[in-house]
Symmetry: C2
Subunit: 252 residues, 2 copies
């Protein structure tokens, strides 16, 4: 049985807590949050606390808090030489106080409190200093049904940055499309199958190969027509920049 103490109560922590309930070889022995109220609804199923001095013994302490809070929280843990990991894509492994055995257990997915998630689709990026810690984190990830990836200090921030592109920026592109359809009284739902297919396509072929459309064809007439249709400066700037980016990629 792998004993886990979970620290934090944000999106990632909450999704992790729920996911940890399933595997028979994993037990969340305690859930810590600075504000106990946030996790009060779980008190009947797990030991909850807001007191760092009452932390339980565990094989791994998983800190799922905002990047800025990792350093202070890890320093405040009243023990040393135990495995303490954070779940951030962006923060350094060295943000964890050096008195601990340090690691990163980064679930590369988008988490919303209101949206349920099949955790088996979450890739886990693992960074550790010691082999045995890597093994333990890998076992935890695999017990959740996840694919795990060993990453280095250069790869993880790059993955996090790339994740901002494919998630946040893509989602903002959806948002702009939503604004455009609303403005013209068209139904955004009509675009949903295209959104699905666009994401599905690059599971098999590279984004380069998957590209189509006026920018790739350098179809000046359609591009001009689109720019005429856009009466929002912000949308226009995005259209122009991404069109020129596609043109550049495809040699125009």
């Amino acid at each position: 049985m792998i004993k886990i103490v979970l620290l934090g109560a944000g999106n990632v922590a909450t999704h992790l807590y729920k996911a940890f309930k399933s595997p028979s070889n994993i037990e969340v022995v305690q859930w810590y949050n600075r504000n106990k109220k946030t996790i009060d609804s779980y008190k009947n199923e797990v030991n909850i606390t807001d007191n760092l001095n009452q932390l339980a013994d565990a094989d791994v302490y998983i800190i799922a808090v905002s990047d800025d809070a990792i350093e202070a929280l890890s320093s405040a843990l009243p023990f040393d030489k135990r495995l303490v990991v954070h779940t951030s894509g962006s923060a350094s492994l060295y943000d964890i106080d050096k008195k601990h055995f340090r690691g990163v257990f980064y679930p590369l997915q988008t988490f919303s409190k209101t949206v349920d998630l099949d955790f088996t689709t979450v890739p886990i990026c693992i960074e550790t200093l010691r082999k045995q810690d890597y093994k333990l984190l890998k076992t935890i990830g695999e017990s959740l049904g996840c694919k795990t990836y060993k990453v280095n200090p250069d790869q993880r921030p790059a993955l996090h940055l790339a994740a901002v592109f494919v998630n946040n920026f893509t989602n903002q592109i959806y948002r702009v499309a939503h604004e455009i359809t609303e403005k013209h009284g068209a139904d955004f739902d009509i675009l949903k199958p295209l959104i699905t297919e666009t994401a599905r396509k690059i599971q098999d072929v590279s984004p380069y190969m998957a590209q189509t459309g006026p920018a790739k064809r350098n179809d000046k007439k359609t591009i001009k027509r689109h720019l005429k249709l856009l009466d929002n400066q912000h949308h226009e700037a995005i259209y122009k920049l991404l069109t020129s980016s596609i043109k550049k990629t495809h040699g125009h």
Copy 2:
């Protein structure tokens, strides 16, 4: 039995031809292309021609050629007062010669010759001048298992523009992420579940509600860290523009 003559041999035409094979109430009585060689491999299953003067009788003539060629091809059809439709999201219905009954049968999806497609996921946007033509096109769309949508001359170009955002621009965002991961020796595949989930999420919630990440949180530290990591001017411009777009949307 609805008789169709298909004109053109690009991605859309080819996918339409294949889709039209299934419904028992639809028959492609002829496939025309300027260059007969392109469709030569189909000659054993369908009447193919490169001669407009030998066009067969049909209930509808579907012109699936590039936007620029619609006008000339529709004028060159050696008959009048029959239903002639194009498949473009962008070209006007009035690009079709006025001697015909005119319409648009716009499958709003991304088509690649090399990527198979489940046609039942394709929304069909229909524009006609006569009610009976709308009914016929709706029947054809539904026979393919598609959802059909009646659109007006303002909505269709807006949908096409929005489709460029959610398909071409999203795909270019994937491409940039691909370049970033490659540069840092990370595996682009790790991002694929996130890409899938990003597209899936907005099937249920609005893009506004689905947004997460440093720009939405106005997390200046992470944004600064990301900008430092980007050493490609083009990527940096995209990062800055979409970050400011998200900030604006979410009130920062």
